[in-house]
Structures are given as structure tokens and as C-alpha cells.
Symmetry: C2
Subunit: 449 residues, 2 copies
């Protein structure tokens, strides 16, 4: 009898693993349990349906269950895994459509259960016009509500990546947008305050109201509709609310089965993505990984790592022995015409973990000064003050930001110090960069610091 791999979760990590196994070993039976009706959807693209930039939400479904089936992967949609029985090596699933349970045996199990949006217990949070924005169904629900109702004023609770992206698309949709954020700055987890202020300025310029340092306290609901948002700083009216307060790993299934969790409540895994239980693996947002900078565990629930982990877990489940070496933590966000990138540690993060850091923050042209269309780019570099080792970088500008951020990420992978970074032979052509790239301007300043 052929070996059977069960995968719980049909998104980035799960489907990457399934595809990898299928490619490496056609003899293995691969089944994916997915509680939704869709798999492999591009969650990061969801905001861009709201302003019509992506006309059809179905475009976000990268591959259909049928396409995976045609590759020889069994895709069981509408199957919600409710219990893992380690001793029996089986998973029990609830089939809502059939109102029945089903038990599936496995030889290897991959938990790729992802993460869920945080929904705080607040007065009025269950109102009809308070939405989460994580699952594909969340997008459909919100989009349908906005199409049906006259909503002019939206409050986005949370000023992280999703909050900022929602502010852009809902403004472009013609709505009046307010962001409520508990921290004193936008994007507090990845940008230091002076860099975040550039994003705040761009949102202001585009008419977004920001209420920073304003922890949400609840909603005043009338007739099941939240009419007002209440924070420590005040109360104001709104037509619709979107909660963008971050995500938490979906690890309840693992926990109930006695599979060890880690300090992030994520499934504890080693570098090979094995859980503490033989034959059970985890990949993607439901597990944590290692920071290549600090060597410590971190939880970075982002698509690229989920895809890479899925590939590695898949390979390892069919006998390879690959390691996922961790991340440096690179992320991009678009905020109207602004491009924002961050990688590695911010100054705030580095100081919080007790490091002695030196930084430089510079503003320089993103192309040759005489070439038309140039704009300022702001670069911040963070380095260890004693060793000179580069610890992180933040880039905010209107062109070239993703590439410049990725250069810093690559340098972090290589554990470069600031001198090696300043030596980088970056390309130059007037339409694309000044002769001293802003990254090198920042590095030169950091060397002098």
C-alpha cells in the first residue's frame, strides 16, 4: 500500500509541500484537507480588489482544487480538521456540507494551518459592519457589504501593513478612512518612528485620518451596526470597521493533540520542520523560525517563508533532509505612491533586545540629480556598534525601494559588516540611480559615525 501524506491547510505552505512531494515521488498519495472551498489564494492581494485594481476576486485564486487534482494531489475542500489522533496516526475532519465526520489515516502529517486574524473581545465587535480581513471569505463579505450599503466612513483598526494597504485602497474607492493604532507610530513593528513618519505624511497627504497612540476600546453598536469607534483618545462615528490587528498561529489542533507549541503559541519545529512528534511536520504561518540575525526563534507569518518552508517540508517528508535556515525578516508595503521596505532589526527592536547599535538615516535622490522624475529616497541602516555588523535596514521612497531593501536583506544573509556593505559594487545609470546609490550614502555615513 502506498504511503499517504496528509496535509492540513491548502494555502502557501500546504500546497507548496503537496506540489513538491508530487514532483519528487509520484508513488505517494498526497491529500490536502482545507476547511474553505478554495485553496492557494493570494491573501496579500486581497486589498487590491477593494478599489477595483483587481476586478475579479477569483483572480486571487492562483490554482483551483481541480488544477491540483490534475497534478495528482487529492484536494479535500470543505474538510475542517478537528482532531489529530497521534496514536492512531489519523485526522478527523468535519464536513460541514455533509454534516458528518470523516477520519483519514496518514503516514506523514503536515500541519499547514496558517494563522488567523486577531478578533479582540470588545463591546460591539460582533456588529454586522465590523469585519476581519484575512480569509478569502472575509474579502467577499466585506466587498459585498460595501457594494450593498452606503458606506462613506471606514475605520481601520490597526496601522500595520494590512491597515496601511486598506487605507490606500479604500481612499481610492472614494471612502473617508480613519486608522486607529495603539502604538504612537504606524508600522511600529518594522519601522522606527522617523521612518514611519514618512508613511504617516503620505497618508495625511491623501486624506487619511490617523489616530495614533489610541488603543481601541470598543464599538458603540445600535441595532447590530457599529456606529461609533471608541478609543482612549475619543469617540467618532463610522459606517464600517475593519479589524487589522495582526494574526496568531492556528495551533489549537496541534495543542489538543499534545504536539508541543513554542513561545509564540506556534507549533514547535526544528530546522527540518519536524514537530516534537515523529511523523508530524509543520510549515508556514502556524510555526515559527529562526532569525538569521539574532539566532533566536521569531515568528514571521509571511508568504515567502511559508512557500519555502512548504517546499522543504515536502522534500523532507519523502526522505530528504533539508533545513530551513531561517529568515532575516524582509517586508514591503505600498502606501499610495510611497514604497516601504524593511529588513532585519529596526533600531527599536535591536535596542529592546539589549544591543548597542549605531545608525545612519539619510535622504538622497533615487536617480541622477539631473535626470527627470527623480524623487527622494530615505534609507536607515542599523549596525552593531561594537562589531560593525549590519543588523537591519529601512527604505522609504517612490521608486527602487524593493530592490534596495533586498540588497540589505542579502547583506544580512551574508552577515556583512558596514565596511563590506560600503564596498558594494552597485550598478549605476542615470535613469535608475545616482552614482552613489542611497544605500552607499547611508553606509558611508554609518562608517563615519
Amino acid at each position: 500500500m502506498a504511503e499517504r501524506v496528509l496535509i492540513v491547510g491548502g494555502d502557501a505552505a500546504g500546497m507548496s509541500a503537496a506540489s513538491r512531494i508530487r514532483r519528487l515521488d509520484p508513488s505517494i498519495r498526497v491529500s490536502v484537507l482545507e476547511r474553505e472551498q478554495v485553496v492557494s489564494y493570494a491573501a496579500c492581494g486581497m486589498p487590491y480588489h477593494l478599489d477595483g485594481r483587481i476586478a475579479r476576486p477569483e483572480s486571487l485564486l492562483i490554482r483551483s482544487p481541480a488544477q491540483f487534482e490534475s497534478m495528482g494531489i487529492e484536494v479535500l475542500t470543505g474538510h475542517e480538521a478537528t482532531e489529530v489522533d497521534i496514536s492512531a496516526a489519523s485526522v478527523r475532519a468535519w464536513l460541514a456540507a455533509e454534516r458528518s465526520h470523516r477520519t483519514l489515516r496518514y503516514d506523514h502529517l503536515l500541519l499547514a494551518t496558517g494563522a488567523s486574524a486577531v478578533r479582540p473581545w470588545l463591546d460591539g465587535v460582533d456588529a454586522e459592519n465590523v469585519f476581519l480581513f484575512r480569509r478569502y471569505e472575509d474579502l467577499l463579505d466585506l466587498s459585498s457589504y460595501l457594494d450593498r450599503r452606503l458606506c462613506r466612513r471606514v475605520t481601520v483598526v490597526g496601522g500595520g501593513y494590512i491597515g496601511v494597504e486598506l487605507a490606500e485602497v479604500l481612499t481610492l474607492r472614494g471612502m473617508s478612512v480613519t486608522i486607529v493604532e495603539a502604538a504612537p507610530t504606524l508600522l511600529p513593528r518594522t519601522l522606527d518612528p522617523e521612518m514611519a513618519s514618512l508613511v504617516e505624511d503620505e497618508l495625511h497627504r491623501n486624506g487619511v485620518s490617523l489616530h495614533l497612540a489610541s488603543p481601541i476600546e470598543g464599538f458603540i453598536a445600535e441595532g447590530g451596526i457599529a456606529s461609533h469607534v471608541s478609543t482612549s483618545e475619543g469617540v467618532w462615528s463610522c459606517d464600517v470597521v475593519i479589524l487589522a490587528l495582526g494574526v496568531r498561529p492556528n495551533s489549537a489542533l496541534a495543542k489538543a493533540a499534545g504536539i508541543a507549541l513554542d513561545e509564540f503559541d506556534a507549533v514547535a519545529t526544528d530546522a527540518h520542520l519536524r514537530s516534537a512528534i515523529e511523523g508530524v511536520w509543520a510549515a508556514g504561518d502556524c510555526t515559527s523560525t529562526v532569525s538569521r540575525i539574532t539566532g533566536k526563534r521569531i515568528w514571521v507569518p509571511l508568504g515567502p517563508a511559508a512557500n519555502k518552508q512548504g517546499r522543504i517540508a515536502g522534500a523532507n517528508m519523502v526522505g530528504q533532509r533539508l533545513a530551513f535556515p531561517g529568515v532575516v525578516g524582509t517586508a514591503f508595503v505600498k502606501a499610495f505612491a510611497l514604497q516601504v521596505g524593511s529588513t532585519g532589526l529596526s533600531e527599536t527592536e535591536a535596542r529592546l533586545s539589549g544591543m548597542n547599535v549605531t545608525t545612519s538615516t539619510i535622504t538622497a535622490g533615487d536617480r541622477a540629480p539631473y535626470y527627470p522624475g527623480g524623487q527622494d529616497t530615505c534609507v536607515k541602516l542599523v549596525a552593531d556598534a561594537s562589531t560593525g555588523r549590519l543588523l537591519g535596514g529601512q527604505v522609504v521612497g517612490r521608486s527602487g525601494v524593493p530592490g534596495r531593501t533586498n540588497v540589505v536583506a542579502t547583506a544580512l544573509h551574508a552577515e556583512m559588516d558596514i565596511q563590506a556593505f560600503a564596498e558594494l559594487d552597485l550598478g549605476y545609470a542615470p535613469p535608475f540611480s545616482p552614482v552613489w546609490d542611497p544605500l552607499l550614502v547611508a553606509a558611508n555615513q554609518l562608517q563615519r559615525a
Copy 2:
């Protein structure tokens, strides 16, 4: 008496050195000899005056002699250095305006004489309508000629970076452009043929005629005007000709003074940019450097290295002991809407130097497939077949090319192998990149190769 530094050449390397010395040691007298009337001009920006993108050529003059003078740097324009007397530690200069010579003593001498455009000895090359395109005066001469004469058909001799940039701007100026190139492909020194063909296609789409594998043989001139271009492949008529056949180091001054040259006829220097003569230094296009990939000397006459070398030579001339660690050889060029980047060794170059290489060439979207405006990007990676070490990369696309090329350049600095490169934690956001960046798609394919 204060020490005196003499610098021959007032462009990137020379003025960087002068500025650096001035910053580090206000007591030293710094004098720059420049044969032209301008210093510190942006040669790389010159093409973009021809289509009016840069309206005033003066915009290319980054700093005026007066600005440097106000920093305390003596700028002697119209001073052509004609002889270095090593034993007397002096330089003799010809002042054309005054029709006289002048001799200047030095304690330290920096040769920053740059490079000159190749002007082959061909029939008709001295015709009034055959132009070089290297010096600021070349731009003024050509621009003035095009403004005064009815020129419809231009032949650009040479299909390197300058040739391709000239093809773009002269087409946009409304001219009919022909490129004549001896090699069978465009950009033969930096792109492999299959990557160059993408550039050739873009030029064709924009109406540029390409005559590849067509070494120039001469010009048929009538009344001092070249009316026809002649190659091994045929003869055709033209109204104006621009020679873009590359550059050679300006080392005659050094050679005549008995200062050793290297295999490129450039001034031989060590890592500290010292020439073979005590107290005489060289920086920029008149000297060569080391390839960080092969460890061998290479001559890469590009602005970023000249600027970096100038800074280092300047610091060393006032007592520091910095090394210029070489380049990987990164370059960008814009060809109409196409962005082209290359870094490190091409497959052709690597094979020519006897290396056993493995390559991958992929085409992938430059952003998430569902996000509007995405275009294909083509990436080629070259690695050592036995060790897996990355040797070079080429990127051609319509967005994000400079950044992706610089990521490869950074990986080359770090001597990454292809596995380490495939692990890179590059950022992801739908407007900027797909979840698998094209670089990682290429790396994954190379790992399977």
C-alpha cells in the same frame, strides 16, 4: 610649508579625491589640473540631453570649479598636464588660453586622467559629421551639429551601452537610427546572446536598424562629410555618425614619465592605489582593479568605482591606509522601456576563462500575476558547476531590474553559492514582486540543474 597634493584630472576620481583630502586635512594644499573648462561633469547623463529629457547640458555639471574653490580646492581649468617629472616631483602643464607652460611642484601626485573614446584610423573618420561621444565638448559639438543641420539618419558605430543609449535618445529625437556592431550581438561584453536578443528585439520594436556582425570598415566622405558607412556586410547612407567603440585608459602621461603600466595599458596600482613610483597614485578609469570573482586584474571604467577609488586615494594620500578591494562589475543600461542589468561574469566570459559553469535562464512575472501592470522579467544566473558558487547574473525586464541586479551583485560580494542564494529572504508585496521573486525562481532552477 604646507604639503601640496596635485591631481591631474577633474572628474569623478580626481574631484572625489580632492574633496576627501580637503575634508580630512584642511592644512594640505590641493590643486586640480583639468585641461577642459569644466570639472565634475556627469558623462553618463550626456545621451539624455539629445532628446531634450535633460534640457540644459549645464545640468550635467554637478559642481562648478567655483564651488570647489569655495571648498578650498584650487581648480586649474585649461591646464593640460603634458609632463610629469618624477625626479623633480613636478608636473608641467600647457595653458592653451595663455599659450604658455607652467610647472607645478607636488608632494603627492594623483593621476586621475580617465579614459578616452576610441577613434579608429578609418577612411573618412575625420569627416565633419563623424563624432565621438565621451567629453562634455563632444556633446556640445554633436548637439550643435544636430541643431544646425538637417540630419535624419544617424549611424551609431558600436552596440555597447553608449550605443544602445544613443539609439534610444536619437530615435526619440525623431531620427532614423542604425547601429553597426562588429560582434554578433548587442552588449557583447556583458550579456550572453539570449539575453542580448531581448535588447535587440526592443530596439527593433522601436524602429532601430541593427547591423550585427558587421565590423566597420570606413566612411565614404564627400566634401568633408561622411555620406555612407561601409562595413564588411554592406554600405549605406547616413547624415551623421557617432563612434561608440569603447574607451581606452589615458596613460600616455604616466608612461612618458616611466610610471609602470599594466596589461590594459592602465597605470599599474596596488590595492592602496599607489603606482610603482613613491608618492604617485592613480584612481578611476586610468587604472585597473581586481575582479572580486576571479581575483584577476580587470579594467572596468565606470563611475561608481572611480568615485570610490578617488575617496580611497584621497584618504591614503593624507596618511590613511585604505584598500580598494575591487569590483564585481555591475552595470545598468536603459534601452527604451527595457531595463538591463548585469553583474559578475557572463556565461561567455566564464567559459572563455576556462571555467566549468552551470546556468539557468528563466522568465517570470515582475509582480504578483493578478496585480495590474505586471511584465515579464528574464533572469540568467551563472554558477561554478563544481562548487556551486555564483559567478554572475543578468536581468532584463521593464521594472525592478536595477534592484534585482544589485541583489546578485551583493551575493557575489559575499561569495554566495547557489544554495545560499536560493535561501534569500527577499521581500514580497503584490505591487512589487511575486511571492517567488524571479531571482529565486532562477536560483531554484539552477539548484535542480
